[in-house]
Symmetry: C2
Subunit: 324 residues, 2 copies
Protein backbone atom coordinates (compact mmCIF):
# COMPACT_ATOMS: atom_id res chain seq x y z
CA UNK A 1 0.00 0.00 0.00
CA UNK A 2 2.78 2.41 0.95
CA UNK A 3 4.66 1.25 -2.15
CA UNK A 4 1.66 2.08 -4.33
CA UNK A 5 1.28 5.51 -2.83
CA UNK A 6 4.98 6.17 -3.12
CA UNK A 7 5.20 5.06 -6.73
CA UNK A 8 2.19 7.21 -7.55
CA UNK A 9 4.05 10.15 -6.05
CA UNK A 10 7.28 9.39 -7.88
CA UNK A 11 5.45 8.84 -11.14
CA UNK A 12 3.82 12.23 -10.93
CA UNK A 13 5.28 15.70 -11.00
CA UNK A 14 4.99 15.72 -7.23
CA UNK A 15 8.38 17.25 -6.52
CA UNK A 16 9.55 20.62 -5.31
CA UNK A 17 12.82 22.24 -4.25
CA UNK A 18 11.10 23.21 -1.02
CA UNK A 19 10.95 19.53 -0.03
CA UNK A 20 14.39 17.98 0.61
CA UNK A 21 12.83 14.87 2.22
CA UNK A 22 9.39 13.47 1.32
CA UNK A 23 7.77 10.07 1.82
CA UNK A 24 9.91 7.30 3.29
CA UNK A 25 11.67 8.75 6.33
CA UNK A 26 10.36 9.20 9.86
CA UNK A 27 9.09 12.63 8.89
CA UNK A 28 9.14 14.96 5.88
CA UNK A 29 11.28 18.09 5.67
CA UNK A 30 9.93 21.34 4.26
CA UNK A 31 11.87 24.56 3.62
CA UNK A 32 9.64 27.55 4.20
CA UNK A 33 10.16 30.67 2.09
CA UNK A 34 11.44 33.72 3.90
CA UNK A 35 9.03 36.34 5.24
CA UNK A 36 6.12 33.97 5.35
CA UNK A 37 3.82 32.29 7.81
CA UNK A 38 2.68 28.71 7.56
CA UNK A 39 -0.98 27.85 7.22
CA UNK A 40 -1.73 24.55 9.00
CA UNK A 41 -4.97 22.65 8.74
CA UNK A 42 -6.30 19.09 8.85
CA UNK A 43 -9.58 17.46 7.94
CA UNK A 44 -11.32 14.17 8.53
CA UNK A 45 -12.88 12.36 5.58
CA UNK A 46 -14.56 9.25 6.96
CA UNK A 47 -16.54 6.48 5.33
CA UNK A 48 -20.10 6.59 6.60
CA UNK A 49 -19.77 10.17 7.86
CA UNK A 50 -18.40 12.19 4.95
CA UNK A 51 -18.83 9.72 2.11
CA UNK A 52 -20.39 6.36 1.31
CA UNK A 53 -18.27 3.66 -0.23
CA UNK A 54 -21.07 2.45 -2.49
CA UNK A 55 -22.18 5.91 -3.65
CA UNK A 56 -18.94 7.84 -4.06
CA UNK A 57 -16.47 6.82 -6.77
CA UNK A 58 -13.02 6.12 -5.32
CA UNK A 59 -11.43 8.87 -7.41
CA UNK A 60 -13.86 11.43 -5.98
CA UNK A 61 -12.91 10.29 -2.47
CA UNK A 62 -9.26 10.90 -3.40
CA UNK A 63 -10.00 14.31 -4.91
CA UNK A 64 -12.35 15.51 -2.21
CA UNK A 65 -10.31 14.55 0.85
CA UNK A 66 -7.57 16.89 -0.37
CA UNK A 67 -9.86 19.58 -1.82
CA UNK A 68 -11.68 19.97 1.52
CA UNK A 69 -8.46 20.59 3.40
CA UNK A 70 -7.19 22.95 0.69
CA UNK A 71 -10.37 24.98 1.08
CA UNK A 72 -9.24 25.92 4.61
CA UNK A 73 -5.98 27.21 3.16
CA UNK A 74 -7.97 29.20 0.58
CA UNK A 75 -10.03 30.71 3.39
CA UNK A 76 -6.86 32.11 4.99
CA UNK A 77 -5.60 33.47 1.68
CA UNK A 78 -2.73 30.98 1.67
CA UNK A 79 -0.91 29.10 -1.07
CA UNK A 80 -0.84 25.31 -0.52
CA UNK A 81 2.60 23.67 -0.57
CA UNK A 82 2.44 20.10 0.71
CA UNK A 83 0.21 17.60 2.46
CA UNK A 84 0.28 14.50 4.64
CA UNK A 85 -2.15 11.65 3.96
CA UNK A 86 -3.32 9.35 6.74
CA UNK A 87 -5.26 6.46 5.29
CA UNK A 88 -6.75 3.22 6.58
CA UNK A 89 -8.26 0.63 4.26
CA UNK A 90 -9.66 -2.88 4.47
CA UNK A 91 -7.37 -5.33 2.65
CA UNK A 92 -10.08 -5.80 0.00
CA UNK A 93 -9.66 -2.20 -1.17
CA UNK A 94 -5.90 -2.14 -1.65
CA UNK A 95 -6.30 -3.10 -5.32
CA UNK A 96 -8.45 -1.23 -7.80
CA UNK A 97 -10.16 1.00 -5.25
CA UNK A 98 -6.81 2.32 -4.00
CA UNK A 99 -5.59 2.84 -7.59
CA UNK A 100 -8.64 4.94 -8.43
CA UNK A 101 -8.42 6.80 -5.14
CA UNK A 102 -4.82 7.72 -5.98
CA UNK A 103 -5.84 8.91 -9.46
CA UNK A 104 -8.27 11.40 -7.91
CA UNK A 105 -5.80 12.42 -5.24
CA UNK A 106 -3.04 12.97 -7.77
CA UNK A 107 -5.32 15.00 -10.02
CA UNK A 108 -6.16 17.34 -7.16
CA UNK A 109 -2.54 17.42 -6.03
CA UNK A 110 -1.37 18.54 -9.48
CA UNK A 111 -4.18 20.96 -10.14
CA UNK A 112 -3.68 22.76 -6.84
CA UNK A 113 0.09 22.28 -6.75
CA UNK A 114 0.23 20.64 -3.39
CA UNK A 115 2.80 17.88 -2.95
CA UNK A 116 2.26 14.64 -0.99
CA UNK A 117 5.19 14.43 1.43
CA UNK A 118 4.20 11.81 3.97
CA UNK A 119 1.52 10.25 6.08
CA UNK A 120 0.54 7.08 7.86
CA UNK A 121 -1.30 3.98 6.65
CA UNK A 122 -2.78 1.03 8.47
CA UNK A 123 -5.50 -1.56 8.04
CA UNK A 124 -9.04 -1.03 9.21
CA UNK A 125 -12.45 -2.37 8.25
CA UNK A 126 -13.44 1.17 7.22
CA UNK A 127 -11.89 3.75 4.94
CA UNK A 128 -10.64 6.47 7.26
CA UNK A 129 -8.86 9.49 5.86
CA UNK A 130 -7.19 12.45 7.46
CA UNK A 131 -5.40 15.07 5.40
CA UNK A 132 -3.08 17.75 6.78
CA UNK A 133 -2.17 20.60 4.45
CA UNK A 134 0.71 23.01 4.91
CA UNK A 135 0.40 26.30 3.06
CA UNK A 136 2.17 29.63 3.12
CA UNK A 137 0.98 33.21 3.36
CA UNK A 138 2.87 36.51 3.49
CA UNK A 139 3.33 37.49 7.16
CA UNK A 140 0.39 39.56 8.34
CA UNK A 141 -1.67 39.00 5.20
CA UNK A 142 -3.77 36.00 6.26
CA UNK A 143 -7.51 36.67 6.26
CA UNK A 144 -8.96 35.77 9.65
CA UNK A 145 -12.52 35.13 10.75
CA UNK A 146 -12.39 37.83 13.37
CA UNK A 147 -11.92 41.00 11.33
CA UNK A 148 -15.49 41.91 10.29
CA UNK A 149 -16.95 45.27 11.47
CA UNK A 150 -20.58 46.45 11.51
CA UNK A 151 -21.36 47.96 8.12
CA UNK A 152 -19.08 45.57 6.21
CA UNK A 153 -20.73 43.94 3.23
CA UNK A 154 -21.15 40.15 3.34
CA UNK A 155 -20.13 38.33 0.15
CA UNK A 156 -20.18 34.75 -1.05
CA UNK A 157 -18.38 33.26 -4.02
CA UNK A 158 -20.04 30.95 -6.54
CA UNK A 159 -23.44 29.40 -6.08
CA UNK A 160 -24.53 27.85 -2.78
CA UNK A 161 -26.40 24.60 -2.29
CA UNK A 162 -25.25 22.87 -5.45
CA UNK A 163 -23.22 20.24 -3.61
CA UNK A 164 -26.23 19.50 -1.40
CA UNK A 165 -28.38 19.18 -4.50
CA UNK A 166 -25.82 16.73 -5.84
CA UNK A 167 -26.06 14.74 -2.61
CA UNK A 168 -29.86 14.56 -2.94
CA UNK A 169 -29.58 13.31 -6.52
CA UNK A 170 -27.11 10.70 -5.28
CA UNK A 171 -29.42 9.60 -2.50
CA UNK A 172 -32.43 9.31 -4.80
CA UNK A 173 -30.16 7.22 -6.98
CA UNK A 174 -31.52 8.56 -10.24
CA UNK A 175 -28.97 6.91 -12.45
CA UNK A 176 -30.39 8.32 -15.66
CA UNK A 177 -29.56 11.91 -14.83
CA UNK A 178 -26.48 11.37 -12.77
CA UNK A 179 -23.79 11.74 -15.31
CA UNK A 180 -24.73 15.10 -16.71
CA UNK A 181 -25.73 17.31 -13.86
CA UNK A 182 -23.22 19.82 -12.63
CA UNK A 183 -24.46 19.60 -9.04
CA UNK A 184 -23.21 16.05 -8.79
CA UNK A 185 -19.83 17.16 -10.05
CA UNK A 186 -19.83 19.91 -7.44
CA UNK A 187 -20.50 17.27 -4.80
CA UNK A 188 -17.87 14.82 -6.04
CA UNK A 189 -15.11 17.20 -7.13
CA UNK A 190 -15.38 20.49 -5.25
CA UNK A 191 -12.90 23.22 -6.20
CA UNK A 192 -11.24 25.07 -3.35
CA UNK A 193 -11.23 28.80 -4.12
CA UNK A 194 -7.48 29.19 -3.77
CA UNK A 195 -6.82 31.89 -6.36
CA UNK A 196 -9.75 33.99 -5.17
CA UNK A 197 -8.83 33.58 -1.50
CA UNK A 198 -5.27 34.60 -2.16
CA UNK A 199 -6.34 37.67 -4.13
CA UNK A 200 -8.79 38.80 -1.42
CA UNK A 201 -6.12 38.42 1.28
CA UNK A 202 -3.13 39.81 -0.66
CA UNK A 203 -5.06 42.94 -1.69
CA UNK A 204 -6.48 43.23 1.83
CA UNK A 205 -9.96 43.33 0.38
CA UNK A 206 -11.51 40.86 2.82
CA UNK A 207 -11.85 42.13 6.39
CA UNK A 208 -12.79 38.57 7.38
CA UNK A 209 -13.07 35.28 5.53
CA UNK A 210 -13.92 31.59 5.98
CA UNK A 211 -14.92 28.73 3.74
CA UNK A 212 -18.45 27.35 3.55
CA UNK A 213 -18.14 23.70 4.49
CA UNK A 214 -21.13 23.16 6.78
CA UNK A 215 -23.63 25.48 5.06
CA UNK A 216 -24.26 29.25 5.25
CA UNK A 217 -26.63 28.89 8.23
CA UNK A 218 -23.95 27.07 10.25
CA UNK A 219 -20.89 28.98 9.06
CA UNK A 220 -22.13 32.59 9.07
CA UNK A 221 -22.82 32.46 12.83
CA UNK A 222 -19.20 31.37 13.31
CA UNK A 223 -17.92 34.32 11.30
CA UNK A 224 -20.18 36.68 13.27
CA UNK A 225 -19.18 35.16 16.63
CA UNK A 226 -15.47 35.47 15.83
CA UNK A 227 -15.91 39.22 15.20
CA UNK A 228 -18.55 39.86 17.87
CA UNK A 229 -21.08 41.16 15.36
CA UNK A 230 -24.38 40.10 13.74
CA UNK A 231 -25.62 40.12 10.16
CA UNK A 232 -28.66 40.98 8.05
CA UNK A 233 -28.95 38.81 4.96
CA UNK A 234 -31.25 39.39 1.99
CA UNK A 235 -32.73 36.06 1.05
CA UNK A 236 -33.33 37.10 -2.57
CA UNK A 237 -29.66 37.88 -3.06
CA UNK A 238 -28.34 34.48 -2.00
CA UNK A 239 -27.10 32.73 -5.15
CA UNK A 240 -29.25 29.59 -4.94
CA UNK A 241 -29.00 26.65 -7.32
CA UNK A 242 -31.24 26.12 -10.29
CA UNK A 243 -32.98 22.77 -9.99
CA UNK A 244 -33.51 21.15 -13.39
CA UNK A 245 -37.06 19.77 -13.79
CA UNK A 246 -35.59 16.52 -15.05
CA UNK A 247 -34.33 15.76 -11.54
CA UNK A 248 -37.91 15.34 -10.37
CA UNK A 249 -37.27 16.99 -7.02
CA UNK A 250 -40.28 19.37 -6.83
CA UNK A 251 -40.24 19.39 -3.03
CA UNK A 252 -36.74 20.87 -2.88
CA UNK A 253 -36.57 24.62 -2.14
CA UNK A 254 -33.49 26.23 -3.73
CA UNK A 255 -33.17 28.89 -1.01
CA UNK A 256 -33.23 26.23 1.70
CA UNK A 257 -30.50 24.33 -0.16
CA UNK A 258 -28.40 27.49 -0.40
CA UNK A 259 -28.92 28.33 3.28
CA UNK A 260 -28.39 24.93 4.81
CA UNK A 261 -26.53 22.78 2.29
CA UNK A 262 -22.95 21.84 3.15
CA UNK A 263 -19.86 20.90 1.16
CA UNK A 264 -19.89 23.89 -1.24
CA UNK A 265 -16.37 25.06 -0.28
CA UNK A 266 -17.19 28.53 -1.53
CA UNK A 267 -15.78 31.51 0.34
CA UNK A 268 -17.79 33.65 2.75
CA UNK A 269 -16.12 37.01 3.31
CA UNK A 270 -16.72 40.59 4.32
CA UNK A 271 -15.50 43.77 2.63
CA UNK A 272 -15.47 47.30 4.07
CA UNK A 273 -18.33 49.43 2.66
CA UNK A 274 -16.05 51.71 0.62
CA UNK A 275 -14.17 48.96 -1.13
CA UNK A 276 -17.26 46.77 -1.57
CA UNK A 277 -18.62 49.15 -4.18
CA UNK A 278 -15.61 48.54 -6.39
CA UNK A 279 -15.45 44.77 -5.99
CA UNK A 280 -15.92 43.10 -9.41
CA UNK A 281 -18.99 40.92 -9.90
CA UNK A 282 -16.79 37.97 -10.60
CA UNK A 283 -13.15 36.96 -10.26
CA UNK A 284 -11.50 34.36 -12.48
CA UNK A 285 -14.95 33.26 -13.62
CA UNK A 286 -16.32 32.86 -10.08
CA UNK A 287 -19.33 35.08 -9.27
CA UNK A 288 -18.96 37.31 -6.19
CA UNK A 289 -22.32 38.20 -4.69
CA UNK A 290 -23.17 40.68 -1.93
CA UNK A 291 -25.82 39.04 0.23
CA UNK A 292 -26.14 41.43 3.19
CA UNK A 293 -24.43 43.51 5.84
CA UNK A 294 -22.68 42.93 9.14
CA UNK A 295 -24.58 44.57 12.01
CA UNK A 296 -23.88 45.76 15.54
CA UNK A 297 -26.79 43.63 16.88
CA UNK A 298 -25.41 40.18 17.58
CA UNK A 299 -28.02 38.15 15.76
CA UNK A 300 -28.49 36.98 12.24
CA UNK A 301 -31.63 38.20 10.48
CA UNK A 302 -32.98 37.02 7.14
CA UNK A 303 -34.95 39.53 5.09
CA UNK A 304 -37.40 37.89 2.70
CA UNK A 305 -38.38 39.43 -0.66
CA UNK A 306 -41.40 41.17 0.91
CA UNK A 307 -39.15 42.88 3.48
CA UNK A 308 -40.17 40.75 6.47
CA UNK A 309 -37.35 39.86 8.84
CA UNK A 310 -36.89 36.59 10.70
CA UNK A 311 -34.07 35.04 12.67
CA UNK A 312 -31.93 32.58 10.79
CA UNK A 313 -32.47 29.01 11.94
CA UNK A 314 -29.29 27.01 12.21
CA UNK A 315 -29.59 24.28 9.66
CA UNK A 316 -26.03 23.35 8.76
CA UNK A 317 -24.17 20.34 9.98
CA UNK A 318 -23.13 19.88 13.60
CA UNK A 319 -22.03 16.28 14.17
CA UNK A 320 -22.69 16.41 17.91
CA UNK A 321 -26.18 17.92 17.63
CA UNK A 322 -28.16 15.72 15.26
CA UNK A 323 -27.69 12.71 13.06
CA UNK A 324 -27.14 13.78 9.53
Amino acid sequence: MVRKIRSCVRGGRFSSPQIPVGIGDDAALFRPRPRGELVLTCDWFLEGTHFLRDKHPADSVGWKCLARALSDVAAMGGVPRCFLLSLTLPSSLTGRWLDEFLVGLQRASRKFQCVLVGGDTTRNEKVLINVTVVGEVRTGRAALRSGARPGDVVFVSGRLGEAELGLRVLRHNKRAVRSNISALKRHFYPEPRLVLGRWLAEKRLATSMMDLSDGLSADLPRLCAAAGVGARINEAQIPAPQIPLVLGLPEVNPVQLALHGGDDYELLFTVGPNRATFLPRSFAGIPLTAIGLMTREKRIMLVDPSGRQRRLDLGGWDPFRTER
Copy 2:
Protein backbone atom coordinates in the same frame (compact mmCIF):
# COMPACT_ATOMS: atom_id res chain seq x y z
CA MET B 1 -16.28 19.11 22.50
CA VAL B 2 -14.38 21.81 20.63
CA ARG B 3 -15.16 24.19 23.49
CA LYS B 4 -13.65 21.73 25.98
CA ILE B 5 -10.51 21.27 23.93
CA ARG B 6 -10.19 24.99 23.40
CA SER B 7 -10.64 25.84 27.07
CA CYS B 8 -8.10 23.20 27.99
CA VAL B 9 -5.68 24.93 25.65
CA ARG B 10 -6.41 28.40 27.00
CA GLY B 11 -6.13 27.22 30.60
CA GLY B 12 -2.69 25.80 29.99
CA ARG B 13 0.55 27.45 29.05
CA PHE B 14 -0.11 26.41 25.49
CA SER B 15 0.93 29.71 23.90
CA SER B 16 3.89 30.82 21.87
CA PRO B 17 4.95 33.92 19.94
CA GLN B 18 5.48 31.65 16.96
CA ILE B 19 1.73 31.07 16.76
CA PRO B 20 -0.24 34.21 15.83
CA VAL B 21 -3.42 32.19 15.18
CA GLY B 22 -4.28 28.93 16.93
CA ILE B 23 -7.53 27.00 17.38
CA GLY B 24 -10.72 28.64 16.14
CA ASP B 25 -10.03 29.85 12.62
CA ASP B 26 -10.10 27.92 9.34
CA ALA B 27 -6.43 27.08 9.84
CA ALA B 28 -3.64 27.87 12.28
CA LEU B 29 -0.74 30.20 11.49
CA PHE B 30 2.83 29.36 12.46
CA ARG B 31 5.89 31.60 12.08
CA PRO B 32 8.95 29.50 11.35
CA ARG B 33 12.33 30.62 12.69
CA PRO B 34 14.87 31.73 10.14
CA ARG B 35 17.44 29.27 8.76
CA GLY B 36 15.38 26.24 9.64
CA GLU B 37 13.51 23.41 7.99
CA LEU B 38 10.18 22.10 9.13
CA VAL B 39 9.76 18.53 10.28
CA LEU B 40 6.28 17.24 9.34
CA THR B 41 4.80 13.98 10.55
CA CYS B 42 1.43 12.44 11.36
CA ASP B 43 0.32 9.30 13.15
CA TRP B 44 -2.83 7.27 13.52
CA PHE B 45 -3.92 6.21 16.99
CA LEU B 46 -7.03 4.08 16.58
CA GLU B 47 -9.25 2.28 19.03
CA GLY B 48 -9.00 -1.46 18.43
CA THR B 49 -5.77 -1.14 16.45
CA HIS B 50 -3.42 0.89 18.61
CA PHE B 51 -5.28 0.87 21.92
CA LEU B 52 -8.28 -0.71 23.64
CA ARG B 53 -10.86 1.48 25.26
CA ASP B 54 -11.36 -0.90 28.19
CA LYS B 55 -7.66 -1.52 28.85
CA HIS B 56 -6.02 1.85 28.27
CA PRO B 57 -6.78 4.71 30.65
CA ALA B 58 -8.06 7.78 28.77
CA ASP B 59 -5.16 9.92 29.96
CA SER B 60 -2.67 7.43 28.53
CA VAL B 61 -4.51 7.60 25.18
CA GLY B 62 -4.11 11.40 25.31
CA TRP B 63 -0.43 11.16 26.23
CA LYS B 64 0.49 8.43 23.83
CA CYS B 65 -1.19 9.78 20.69
CA LEU B 66 1.03 12.85 20.94
CA ALA B 67 4.16 11.07 22.22
CA ARG B 68 4.12 8.66 19.24
CA ALA B 69 4.08 11.48 16.72
CA LEU B 70 6.75 13.40 18.66
CA SER B 71 8.97 10.34 18.45
CA ASP B 72 9.17 10.83 14.67
CA VAL B 73 10.36 14.38 15.23
CA ALA B 74 12.96 13.07 17.69
CA ALA B 75 14.15 10.60 15.06
CA MET B 76 14.91 13.49 12.67
CA GLY B 77 16.70 15.46 15.39
CA GLY B 78 13.98 18.11 15.36
CA VAL B 79 12.44 20.30 18.04
CA PRO B 80 8.64 20.02 18.21
CA ARG B 81 6.70 23.28 17.97
CA CYS B 82 3.00 22.65 17.46
CA PHE B 83 0.46 19.96 16.65
CA LEU B 84 -2.97 19.41 15.14
CA LEU B 85 -5.40 16.97 16.79
CA SER B 86 -8.03 15.15 14.75
CA LEU B 87 -10.39 13.34 17.07
CA THR B 88 -13.65 11.43 16.72
CA LEU B 89 -15.61 10.24 19.73
CA PRO B 90 -18.94 8.60 20.46
CA SER B 91 -21.24 11.04 22.30
CA SER B 92 -20.97 8.87 25.42
CA LEU B 93 -17.27 9.73 25.78
CA THR B 94 -17.51 13.52 25.54
CA GLY B 95 -17.77 13.77 29.35
CA ARG B 96 -15.28 12.27 31.77
CA TRP B 97 -13.37 10.24 29.18
CA LEU B 98 -12.64 13.36 27.12
CA ASP B 99 -11.62 15.29 30.27
CA GLU B 100 -9.10 12.61 31.20
CA PHE B 101 -7.89 12.29 27.63
CA LEU B 102 -7.19 16.03 27.61
CA VAL B 103 -5.32 15.80 30.93
CA GLY B 104 -2.92 13.27 29.40
CA LEU B 105 -2.63 15.24 26.17
CA GLN B 106 -1.93 18.48 28.01
CA ARG B 107 0.70 16.81 30.20
CA ALA B 108 2.57 15.58 27.13
CA SER B 109 2.07 18.91 25.38
CA ARG B 110 3.66 20.80 28.28
CA LYS B 111 6.41 18.34 28.95
CA PHE B 112 7.56 18.29 25.33
CA GLN B 113 6.68 21.95 24.65
CA CYS B 114 4.46 21.30 21.70
CA VAL B 115 1.43 23.57 21.37
CA LEU B 116 -2.02 22.46 20.21
CA VAL B 117 -2.96 24.84 17.39
CA GLY B 118 -5.88 23.21 15.62
CA GLY B 119 -7.52 20.07 14.35
CA ASP B 120 -10.84 18.56 13.44
CA THR B 121 -13.47 16.79 15.52
CA THR B 122 -16.54 14.80 14.64
CA ARG B 123 -18.72 12.06 16.03
CA ASN B 124 -18.04 8.39 15.43
CA GLU B 125 -18.85 5.15 17.21
CA LYS B 126 -15.12 4.61 17.71
CA VAL B 127 -12.33 6.73 19.11
CA LEU B 128 -10.21 7.69 16.12
CA ILE B 129 -7.18 9.90 16.58
CA ASN B 130 -4.74 11.41 14.16
CA VAL B 131 -1.99 13.74 15.32
CA THR B 132 0.16 15.92 13.05
CA VAL B 133 3.27 17.44 14.58
CA VAL B 134 5.26 20.33 13.15
CA GLY B 135 8.83 20.60 14.36
CA GLU B 136 11.92 22.53 13.34
CA VAL B 137 15.50 21.55 12.63
CA ARG B 138 18.50 23.58 11.51
CA THR B 139 18.79 23.40 7.71
CA GLY B 140 20.90 20.41 6.70
CA ARG B 141 21.12 18.96 10.21
CA ALA B 142 18.18 16.52 10.14
CA ALA B 143 19.20 12.89 10.69
CA LEU B 144 17.85 10.75 7.85
CA ARG B 145 17.40 7.01 7.54
CA SER B 146 19.57 6.82 4.47
CA GLY B 147 22.99 7.88 5.75
CA ALA B 148 24.41 4.64 7.20
CA ARG B 149 27.62 3.18 5.67
CA PRO B 150 29.12 -0.30 6.05
CA GLY B 151 31.27 -0.30 9.19
CA ASP B 152 29.06 2.17 11.07
CA VAL B 153 28.18 1.02 14.57
CA VAL B 154 24.48 0.35 15.28
CA PHE B 155 23.17 1.85 18.53
CA VAL B 156 19.89 1.80 20.38
CA SER B 157 18.79 4.05 23.21
CA GLY B 158 17.15 2.77 26.39
CA ARG B 159 15.88 -0.75 26.87
CA LEU B 160 13.89 -2.55 24.18
CA GLY B 161 10.81 -4.71 24.68
CA GLU B 162 9.56 -3.09 27.86
CA ALA B 163 6.47 -1.62 26.22
CA GLU B 164 5.65 -5.06 24.76
CA LEU B 165 6.11 -6.58 28.22
CA GLY B 166 3.68 -3.96 29.53
CA LEU B 167 1.19 -4.95 26.84
CA ARG B 168 1.46 -8.62 27.88
CA VAL B 169 0.84 -7.72 31.51
CA LEU B 170 -2.17 -5.70 30.41
CA ARG B 171 -3.52 -8.59 28.34
CA HIS B 172 -3.10 -11.10 31.15
CA ASN B 173 -4.96 -8.57 33.25
CA LYS B 174 -2.93 -9.18 36.39
CA ARG B 175 -4.42 -6.36 38.39
CA ALA B 176 -2.29 -7.01 41.48
CA VAL B 177 0.99 -6.14 39.80
CA ARG B 178 -0.25 -3.55 37.37
CA SER B 179 0.30 -0.39 39.29
CA ASN B 180 3.94 -0.80 40.14
CA ILE B 181 5.67 -2.22 37.14
CA SER B 182 7.65 0.13 35.00
CA ALA B 183 6.92 -1.81 31.81
CA LEU B 184 3.26 -0.87 32.04
CA LYS B 185 4.22 2.75 32.42
CA ARG B 186 6.47 2.42 29.38
CA HIS B 187 3.50 1.06 27.46
CA PHE B 188 1.04 3.73 28.65
CA TYR B 189 3.29 6.79 28.73
CA PRO B 190 6.21 6.39 26.34
CA GLU B 191 8.80 9.17 26.27
CA PRO B 192 9.95 10.36 22.88
CA ARG B 193 13.73 10.77 22.91
CA LEU B 194 13.66 14.39 21.81
CA VAL B 195 16.70 15.71 23.66
CA LEU B 196 18.83 12.76 22.64
CA GLY B 197 17.71 12.91 19.02
CA ARG B 198 18.45 16.60 18.81
CA TRP B 199 21.92 16.13 20.30
CA LEU B 200 22.78 13.29 17.92
CA ALA B 201 21.67 15.36 14.92
CA GLU B 202 23.07 18.75 15.98
CA LYS B 203 26.50 17.27 16.70
CA ARG B 204 26.32 15.21 13.51
CA LEU B 205 27.02 12.06 15.51
CA ALA B 206 24.32 9.92 13.91
CA THR B 207 24.96 8.97 10.28
CA SER B 208 21.38 7.64 10.17
CA MET B 209 18.52 7.49 12.64
CA MET B 210 14.93 6.34 13.08
CA ASP B 211 12.62 5.62 15.97
CA LEU B 212 11.66 2.12 17.08
CA SER B 213 7.90 1.99 16.83
CA ASP B 214 7.25 -1.43 15.28
CA GLY B 215 10.08 -3.38 16.91
CA LEU B 216 13.79 -3.78 16.11
CA SER B 217 13.15 -6.70 13.74
CA ALA B 218 10.74 -4.59 11.65
CA ASP B 219 12.51 -1.25 11.87
CA LEU B 220 16.17 -2.23 11.39
CA PRO B 221 15.44 -3.65 7.91
CA ARG B 222 13.91 -0.26 7.00
CA LEU B 223 17.04 1.57 8.14
CA CYS B 224 19.21 -0.87 6.19
CA ALA B 225 17.05 -0.65 3.08
CA ALA B 226 17.13 3.16 3.12
CA ALA B 227 20.94 3.08 3.07
CA GLY B 228 21.34 0.02 0.84
CA VAL B 229 23.31 -1.88 3.48
CA GLY B 230 22.89 -4.86 5.83
CA ALA B 231 23.68 -5.37 9.51
CA ARG B 232 25.18 -7.88 11.91
CA ILE B 233 23.64 -7.68 15.37
CA ASN B 234 24.99 -9.32 18.52
CA GLU B 235 22.05 -10.80 20.35
CA ALA B 236 23.76 -10.62 23.75
CA GLN B 237 24.25 -6.88 23.42
CA ILE B 238 20.61 -6.01 22.82
CA PRO B 239 19.35 -4.30 25.98
CA ALA B 240 16.45 -6.65 26.78
CA PRO B 241 13.97 -6.13 29.61
CA GLN B 242 14.18 -7.78 32.98
CA ILE B 243 11.02 -9.74 33.65
CA PRO B 244 10.09 -9.69 37.34
CA LEU B 245 9.17 -13.16 38.64
CA VAL B 246 6.06 -11.69 40.23
CA LEU B 247 4.58 -11.21 36.75
CA GLY B 248 4.32 -14.98 36.35
CA LEU B 249 5.29 -14.92 32.68
CA PRO B 250 7.88 -17.73 32.57
CA GLU B 251 7.23 -18.43 28.91
CA VAL B 252 8.30 -14.96 27.84
CA ASN B 253 11.81 -14.69 26.36
CA PRO B 254 13.36 -11.27 27.02
CA VAL B 255 15.44 -11.29 23.83
CA GLN B 256 12.36 -12.06 21.74
CA LEU B 257 10.58 -9.16 23.40
CA ALA B 258 13.50 -6.85 22.65
CA LEU B 259 13.71 -8.02 19.04
CA HIS B 260 10.05 -8.03 18.12
CA GLY B 261 8.22 -5.85 20.64
CA GLY B 262 6.81 -2.58 19.34
CA ASP B 263 5.91 0.77 20.89
CA ASP B 264 9.25 1.41 22.61
CA TYR B 265 9.90 4.74 20.86
CA GLU B 266 13.59 4.41 21.53
CA LEU B 267 16.04 5.62 18.88
CA LEU B 268 17.90 3.32 16.51
CA PHE B 269 20.92 5.07 15.01
CA THR B 270 24.30 4.52 13.45
CA VAL B 271 27.59 6.24 14.24
CA GLY B 272 30.78 6.24 12.18
CA PRO B 273 33.41 3.83 13.62
CA ASN B 274 35.78 6.60 14.74
CA ARG B 275 33.21 8.62 16.60
CA ALA B 276 31.44 5.54 18.02
CA THR B 277 34.37 4.85 20.36
CA PHE B 278 33.86 8.18 22.05
CA LEU B 279 30.09 8.05 22.37
CA PRO B 280 29.14 8.15 26.07
CA ARG B 281 27.39 5.11 27.52
CA SER B 282 24.40 7.20 28.38
CA PHE B 283 22.99 10.62 27.57
CA ALA B 284 20.68 12.52 29.93
CA GLY B 285 20.15 9.29 31.86
CA ILE B 286 19.27 7.23 28.78
CA PRO B 287 21.60 4.26 28.10
CA LEU B 288 23.19 4.17 24.63
CA THR B 289 24.13 0.64 23.60
CA ALA B 290 26.15 -0.58 20.62
CA ILE B 291 24.42 -3.71 19.33
CA GLY B 292 26.25 -4.43 16.07
CA LEU B 293 27.64 -3.14 12.80
CA MET B 294 26.31 -2.10 9.41
CA THR B 295 27.60 -4.42 6.66
CA ARG B 296 28.04 -4.35 2.91
CA GLU B 297 26.01 -7.61 2.56
CA LYS B 298 22.37 -6.62 2.29
CA ARG B 299 20.97 -8.96 4.91
CA ILE B 300 20.51 -8.78 8.62
CA MET B 301 22.33 -11.43 10.65
CA LEU B 302 21.89 -12.18 14.33
CA VAL B 303 24.93 -13.53 16.19
CA ASP B 304 24.00 -15.57 19.26
CA PRO B 305 26.22 -15.77 22.38
CA SER B 306 27.96 -18.92 21.07
CA GLY B 307 28.93 -17.13 17.85
CA ARG B 308 26.41 -18.83 15.57
CA GLN B 309 24.83 -16.60 12.96
CA ARG B 310 21.25 -16.73 11.68
CA ARG B 311 19.11 -14.46 9.57
CA LEU B 312 16.82 -12.14 11.47
CA ASP B 313 13.16 -13.13 11.16
CA LEU B 314 10.86 -10.21 10.70
CA GLY B 315 8.69 -10.17 13.77
CA GLY B 316 7.57 -6.60 14.20
CA TRP B 317 4.25 -5.19 13.24
CA ASP B 318 3.02 -4.88 9.69
CA PRO B 319 -0.71 -4.15 9.63
CA PHE B 320 -1.17 -5.52 6.11
CA ARG B 321 0.71 -8.77 6.70
CA THR B 322 -0.85 -10.37 9.77
CA GLU B 323 -3.42 -9.66 12.42
CA ARG B 324 -1.78 -8.39 15.54
